[in-house]
């Protein structure tokens, strides 16, 4: 008599979704890697030492996983959160006090901190194994940009709860933009950019204004950071991640002694 699991696995529905038999023998372990969308990022086989946990620390993988966790929890948070000065704070309070599954915000915030840490550790590992050396130079460059995007994601998210911690941290951070050489209104050289005696760089047209959308952290900033945090930067990061992973394969898989 067929067991229940066999009945399911022989059904038309199951077979239409999962196209390969159970990966219990060599042939099917290869097939599974080739036919499953989620697994096809990987090669079918790899050097044993390259995939060893003590070599990669799985740090890039963990960073990617945290990116996914942030995406999922972030979408759930967006259901409850309105990015306006009027509502932002009280929506966060409601998330804490009223919404069931009360750890959503915690998962998202601690996940973000964790992602900053793991991305540093990943970079640390890549450096210490010299994996940026030819032919992987460009993947390192992509990595540095991903590192920057990770930090910017964290930074833009910091403002959204609209509490004291948030606006003052962002104020401290964005005040620096005011001092950008030439492009900040208190930056060296900005005074040189005048046309016919009219300053081109003022506190309403400088780099800080561009970041904040206003002269100080306010409604416009919240909107700007919200869009950056929820749409623009994640999309950019997702694209770069796709290329990052593609390049690992094209550069000959995870590094190892020549």
């Amino acid at each position: 008599m067929d067991s229940l699991s066999e009945i399911i696995r022989n059904s038309q529905i199951w077979k239409s979704i999962i196209r390969h038999p159970m990966p219990v023998d060599r042939r099917n372990r290869i097939v599974v890697m080739l036919t499953n969308f989620f697994l096809h990022l990987h090669p079918v086989s790899a050097k044993k030492q390259g995939i060893a946990l003590s070599y990669t620390w799985c740090m890039g993988g963990i960073t990617f996983f945290l990116f996914l966790v942030e995406t999922v929890t972030g979408v759930l948070l967006m259901f409850y959160y309105r990015p306006t000065v009027e509502w932002a704070y009280s929506d966060i309070v409601a998330l804490r006090d009223v919404v069931s599954l009360g750890v959503l915000r915690e998962l998202h915030r601690w996940g973000a901190h964790a992602m900053v840490i793991t991305v540093w550790l990943h970079m640390y590992r890549v450096f210490l194994t010299g994996s940026y050396k030819p032919p992987r130079e460009f993947n390192w460059v992509l990595g540095v940009i991903l590192l920057l995007l990770t930090l910017l994601l964290s930074f833009t998210g910091y403002l959204l709860p609209w509490d004291q911690l948030a606006i003052w941290a962002i104020t401290v951070g964005s005040n620096m933009a005011r001092a950008t050489p030439f492009l900040g209104n208190e930056g060296p050289g900005a005074a040189l950019l005048t046309v016919g005696g009219i300053d081109m760089i003022t506190n309403a047209s400088d780099a800080r204004f561009l970041t904040l959308g206003a002269r100080f952290v306010g409604e416009e900033t919240l909107n700007r950071f919200y869009v950056l945090h929820c749409v623009a930067i994640p999309l950019g990061a997702a694209l770069l991640l796709a290329i990052h992973f593609w390049r690992i394969r094209k550069d000959g898989g995870i590094s190892g002694p020549l």
Binding site: L39, G50, G61, I117, L121, F138, S154, A191, P257
Partner: protein
């Protein structure tokens, strides 16, 4: 902050946490002992002679079992929550007083350099599992003993600071792991053997070998995140108010290294130029490092130059400054050692002088040159340039004249291998990185404020 609690109330509140903490440390050490015993990986540290009859080996499992016993003994003391009992699990006052007396930004920064330097020079010693595990235990013990201090526990357990405590332990662990593999590989290279990474390195199927590892990592990370989220609530302060400025106002922790640089450099340097240089420098690494060795395996001796530069930038500057900005900087960005209460009224005398002030006023005993009232823009500019000429000459000399000197002396080989442009990029990146410690030292030793001080153009360096 817990400032309003009496010490007795505070200790009673810490009791359960600390009791569990020591119990966990005991279990951790017992597991280590059991693991070493089972796997036969224990080492004999020395032998004890019993009445000249037997010579009993004192092995690592025995050592960790003793340590575990010690922690078991600490646990009830901590659980008691009684101030007299907990005296036994607190730092002695003399230690706190010593820290109070000695620690300041100079000692902290130089101390970190010495600390990382000695870890590096004695890496063969520190990678030994016995030594590393002892250090780990000692750090945990120190943390535990410090937790009975209100100021220390307030700053360490502040929800947003917990990740940095985690970061320190993770960095410690992974640095140890990487260094011990590098040391092993360097030893093998001396014997003419290939690195460990090429031994037993046949191709294996990704299912199951990699897919399972990833799955386990995913489950572990998710579990950790859930526990973290359940134990620690995400911080939420009062609603934003543009009139009430908190003191200190801190940037998010991963940018605190930059905020710490503000002590030494103006925002255009600390917030814009230096971060851009850091990013550019990171991107440039693969194109500057011409060393073909050490690609795809852990090693230190085969790429010492790259290794030391990176570690100086990452561990000594970036991480150390973040730790300082998070734990040691309080109201008004004053320095507070970890056992000090954050007092908003603490004042630190600031009497820093600009290079041009020192040059004209002190060295030549004249007033700084100043354009006569009502002179035109160009004249003003020339006077300012004249006034600041010592600093301008110094900076130009530093960034323009030093590279050729480096190329001609200790970096000759680099120059020949890299060619003019690449060498210029490398040497200037190194010099830019050096600007920070340079300014720190000058600030501490001669109270230098700016090399070049042109507030007229917002150009202070």
């Amino acid at each position: 902050m817990h400032g309003h609690l009496s010490q007795a109330e505070f200790l009673a509140g810490m009791a359960a946490f600390l009791g569990v903490f020591y119990l966990s440390l005991a279990i951790m050490n017992a597991i280590a002992a059991a693991f070493l015993w089972e796997s036969g990986r224990g080492v004999t540290l020395f032998r004890v002679n019993v009445f000249g009859l037997y010579s009993l080996p004192f092995t690592t499992p025995i050592l960790w079992l003793l340590v575990a016993t010690y922690f078991v003994a600490l646990s009830p003391l901590a659980f008691s929550g009684d101030p007299y009992m907990m005296w036994w699990v607190s730092l002695p006052t003399v230690v706190i007083d010593t820290i109070d007396y000695w620690v300041n930004p100079t000692v902290y920064t130089v101390g970190s350099l010495v600390f990382f330097g000695s870890l590096f020079w004695m890496r063969r010693f520190f990678v030994k599992p016995v030594v590393a595990w002892s250090c780990f235990n000692l750090v945990l013990l120190f943390m535990g003993f410090s937790m009975t201090n209100q100021s220390f526990s307030a700053i360490v357990t502040k929800a947003d600071n917990v990740p940095i405590v985690g970061l320190m332990f993770l960095l410690g662990f992974f640095t140890w792991l990487a260094t011990s593999r590098a040391v092993a590989n360097d030893d093998r290279a001396l014997r003419g053997e290939p690195p460990l990474e090429s031994v037993d390195n046949e191709k294996v199927l990704v299912w199951p070998d990699l897919v399972y590892t990833e799955l386990i990592c995913m489950v572990a990370v998710l579990a950790l995140l859930l526990v973290w989220g359940l134990l620690l609530q995400a911080p939420l302060e009062e609603p934003a108010s543009s009139v009430k400025t908190p003191n200190p106002s801190k940037a998010p922790w991963y940018f605190l290294g930059l905020q710490e640089m503000l002590v030494y450099y103006d925002p255009w340097m600390a917030g814009v130029v230096l971060p851009s240089v850091i990013l550019f420098g990171l991107i440039a690494i693969p194109y500057l490092d011409f060393n073909k060795l050490g690609n795809g395996y852990y090693t230190i001796s085969q790429r010492k130059f790259a290794y030391l530069n990176f570690q100086f930038g990452f561990l000594v500057l970036w991480v150390t400054l973040i730790v300082m900005g998070t734990f040691l900087r309080g109201p008004n960005w004053n320095f507070f050692h970890p056992f000090e209460t954050w007092d908003t009224h603490k004042v630190e005398a600031l009497s820093n002088v600009d290079l041009s002030q020192w040059f004209w006023n002190d060295l030549f005993g004249v007033a700084r040159p100043k354009a006569p009232e009502g002179s035109g823009g160009l004249k003003q500019f020339l006077y300012i340039a004249y006034r600041e000429s010592p600093g301008i000459v110094f900076i130009i000399g530093y960034l323009v004249l030093l590279p050729p000197v480096m190329a001609a002396t200790f970096m000759r080989k680099f120059f020949i291998k890299m060619g003019f442009i690449r060498f210029m990029v490398l040497s200037n990146l190194m010099l830019m990185m050096g600007l920070l410690p340079l300014k720190m030292i000058l600030r501490w030793s001669v109270n230098l404020k700016y090399f070049i001080s042109i507030p007229e153009y917002f150009l202070n360096l």
